[in-house]
Symmetry: C2
Subunit: 288 residues, 2 copies
């Protein structure tokens, strides 16, 4: 496995892979890899000849009071993990390498970015679209892999690719969870021992809400069930949002909705965690 | 030469050309082709194996009170001209083919789009960036060709390509003029006989301003010379702007400026015409 830090090196590697007729799988990450990222790389490995993983904590998707500076980083450990799942090239640029110039052009995510995490993180998805556009142009992937855990991100990036005709496919990969149900996240490292014990209440609350919705078809009641469960079963829990929306358009549900996204953002202490469940009318929890 | 109207057809043609290892030159146009467009296609023909010309009057770059509906169109004539200059494929999609979906994501041009034509055409360059991004992703060109006549457009698109790492090169091609100096433009067809006679005053005014600036180094005085000349030598002329800026960053000129852009937008009757001259400290009129 090769590790490159410059755009020039990456472009040369991509040129060679393309010249050899290889399909390219891109796995964009912010590093501090866990089993969720490994699942993305494994999915990419199954479908493509050549796997590029980017490791870049992108400053433009963090708000001024968010955790850009403290976001966990461990490139040495990440390299070993990437190699173990068959990544061919890790692209780990500096901020200056990624953003050497700024002519002020910005991509603004639309309505899909005003709800859920977008409501409390203004500009976050604009920053995501900026960095993925750059990564798509640099790695020229056949397919790019994103986690279902960031369901809103996956939906917005899929809209970008569709409406701007990027010549690639977006694949989303199911959430990987700890044994007790907590969704794997680089931010779980922020949790104290007690917070870590309480955090699985988020997923259990979502599961109860799903059951409630499937039996009563009452979204408000279902969301209430999740909120009550989480607040009763944590000492430091604070709900940012819990919402039930249609996926992938992220519009309000109605009788025509085929796929539901039940999504939550909850502060456990000072750590903001997100999780979600996707399911159909029939109650099947489905991959997207 | 082939003419295709669907994205699916174009993508298949691009796939084949790429598989054969061909370099692709893209010439984006709004049709009603004149010698300016032909110069773009000829430049593309010299440098690339395969030439795609798009002909699409893009609604998203026209303001509500602009000439989208009346913009001249003649696809049959355009096809003959395209074929005569060695274009391999004309891509002439409908509006519905180009914009079948809208998830609300927009590209906003930055500071470079707030001046010159951007000041009186809010949103124009956002629409340009939207359509060229789509065309770049569909045609996957090695090089894309734009006219120096739309110098601000060329500068902004170059910024897009640089800051978002599009895997292609932008080429700008010198302005083609009528014998009396009027810059070739599809919009010249709007001019009455008398307006057509007066319109070359724009270019002559710019030439006089350039001479004034090179001798006095007084930008304000030079711009005054152009304005006076145009107003004195036309009966229906009205200045939108005449400005002297550094190229390609479109910032105010200073002692470090190497390349000057002297640009004008002038209404002749109801028709808004643009023109420009680019030159260096030494007075050489240079291509960019």
């Amino acid at each position: 496995m090769e590790v490159v830090t410059t755009i020039a090196e990456l472009k040369e590697i991509v040129r060679k892979a393309k010249a050899e007729g290889k399909t390219i799988g891109l796995v964009p990450t912010m590093g501090y890899l866990h089993e969720g990222h490994m699942a993305l790389a494994k999915a990419a490995r199954e479908e493509n000849d050549f796997i590029i993983m980017s490791i870049f904590v992108n400053p433009t998707q963090f708000g001024p009071n968010e955790d850009y500076e403290s976001y966990p980083r461990d490139l040495e450990r990440d390299q070993k993990i990437a190699e173990s799942v068959g990544v061919d090239v890790v692209f780990a640029p500096s901020v200056d390498e990624m953003y050497p110039t700024d002519g002020g052009i910005r991509i603004h995510a639309g309505r899909q970015a005003t709800i859920l995490c977008g409501a409390s993180r203004p500009g976050h998805f604009d920053g995501v679209l900026q960095v993925v556009t750059k990564l798509f142009h640099l790695a020229e992937p056949t397919r790019a892999y994103f986690g279902q855990k960031d369901a809103q991100q996956a939906a917005i990036i899929s809209t970008l690719v569709r409406d701007f005709n990027f010549p690639l496919e977006i694949r989303t990969v199911p959430i990987v969870r700890e044994e007790d149900g907590l969704a794997k996240s680089s931010r779980n490292v922020y949790l104290s021992e007690n917070e870590r014990k309480e955090a699985p209440a988020i997923y259990r609350g979502l599961q109860l809400a799903k059951e409630e919705f499937l039996s009563s078809k009452d979204a408000e009641k279902a969301i209430g069930v999740a909120k009550d469960y989480i607040l009763k079963n944590t000492t430091t829990g604070r709900i940012d949002y819990i919402e039930l929306l249609a996926y992938p358009d992220l519009k309000p549900i109605d009788d025509s909705t085929k796929q539901y996204l039940l999504a939550a953002a909850v502060f456990i202490g000072k750590t903001r965690l997100i999780d979600n469940i996707m399911f159909t009318n029939k109650g099947d929890t489905e991959n997207v």
